[in-house]
């Protein structure tokens, strides 16, 4: 079973939930950190000697001998990664989405492709993470790369990226179930609402974990009740959690909560 942890808003506790689900899971549990712009689940794990593999994608190379600077490629590129600047064509590989369109539209056949490094993946038998190069826009590409390297396991936890966007959708794509971590603030409610709408559109089953709860009747729990969404757990705001996070340690006291959540989901 694959469970992706998502939220919409950043900082609601996705990584916190992911690493605790991982710790609470059966012995055959695997964790994938797909928050490739800022992976940090590793801080909580005792994983050493990770294997590393660079990740590449195709970007255009211009043959300036053949190029007649007609500008067809730059006007075709929707991402501004090829620009006609005066009498020369310049490429900006960090902006390229590797669609290959420029190579097809060039009337002089002056564009070929070469691999360009966008980051790397690191993995062990129980864990994988993707680390995107700073400045690269290849977030979805990197997330798919991480997912394609996840080996078969009884339980797979995917720590997703924040947002309700293409990267977040890429991380929920392989999931059998999505656990939404909600933070009871107006911003948290707004974003989790959008995430829930997106998941309903995709037909992905999901349930909600309410985190950082300070009051008895918080807005996320109320939202779950009003919409008939499944609320599988509540974690109260607790300085000991923050303390353990700062120390890069799991909050042992909360493992039973996550064991209970897994029991409900599986």
């Amino acid at each position: 079973m694959i469970i992706t942890v998502a939220s919409g808003k950043g900082g609601t506790g996705k990584t916190f939930a992911s690493v605790h689900l991982y710790a609470a899971g059966c012995p055959d549990t695997f964790l994938a950190d797909c928050d490739v712009e800022e992976p940090n689940a590793l801080l909580f794990l005792q994983e050493h000697d990770l294997q590393r593999r660079d990740v590449y994608r195709q970007v255009p190379v211009i043959d300036h001998q053949r190029c007649r600077t007609c500008g067809t490629c730059s006007s075709f590129c929707s991402f501004g990664s090829i620009a006609l600047l005066g009498d020369q064509v310049k490429t900006f590989p960090d902006l390229c989405r590797s669609c290959g369109g420029c190579t097809l539209v060039c009337p002089e056949k002056a564009i070929t492709e070469k691999p360009y490094e966008v980051g790397y993946i690191e993995f062990s038998e129980k864990f994988i993470q993707g680390v995107l190069k700073v400045g690269s826009v290849s977030v979805v590409h990197m997330i798919r790369e991480v997912i394609s390297h996840i080996p078969d396991h009884e339980l797979i936890i995917i720590d997703g990226p924040p947002g309700v966007n293409c990267p977040a959708m890429a991380a929920v794509a392989p999931a059998d179930h999505v656990l939404l971590v909600g933070e009871p603030t107006p911003f948290g409610l707004h974003d989790i609402t959008r995430m829930a709408e997106a998941l309903e559109e995709l037909g992905k089953p999901f349930s909600v974990l309410v985190n950082k709860v300070k009051t008895t009747d918080d807005i996320i729990s109320r939202w779950c009740r009003d919409h008939g969404y499944r609320n599988v757990g509540t974690i109260h705001d607790d300085y000991r959690i923050r303390q353990s996070c700062v120390n890069g340690e799991l909050s042992e006291a909360h493992i039973p909560v996550f064991k209970q959540i897994l029991k409900e989901l599986i």
């Binding site: 620009a83 005066g86 900006f92």
Partner: protein, 111 residues
């Protein structure tokens, strides 16, 4: 010579936009005619990525020689160099003050 200045509002005496690629519009001053025109940078400034490069393309279309702004990112800088547009960064607050600064500087150089 044509000088482009990044601006926030349609007013020479209003703020110079300190961001090059995300500037709303550019004032283009022609030193020969001593007149200026405005061009909108809406398309680039609202682009999800590559705003600076698209802005350079706008300046090329308007045959700009020198651009005056606050800060320029690395990709836009590379594009400006390729396009042969001179970059002049300033800390002046208004478009008019930035233009005066550049013009008086040019005068000192050429006299």
């Amino acid at each position: 010579m044509k000088i482009a200045l990044s601006a926030k509002k349609h007013d020479l005496y209003n703020q110079l936009d300190e961001h090059f690629g995300r500037a709303e519009l550019f004032f283009i001053y022609n030193t020969e005619t001593e007149r200026y025109t405005e061009v909108s940078n809406k398309r680039a400034s609202s682009a999800p990525q590559g705003a600076g490069i698209q802005t350079v393309e706008l300046l090329i279309r308007n045959e700009v020689d020198t651009v005056v702004t606050g800060t320029v990112g690395p990709k836009a800088q590379k594009a400006l160099e390729a396009a042969g547009i001179t970059l002049y960064t300033t800390k002046q607050h208004t478009v008019a003050m930035a233009l005066n600064e550049l013009l008086s500087r040019e005068e000192t150089i050429h006299s």
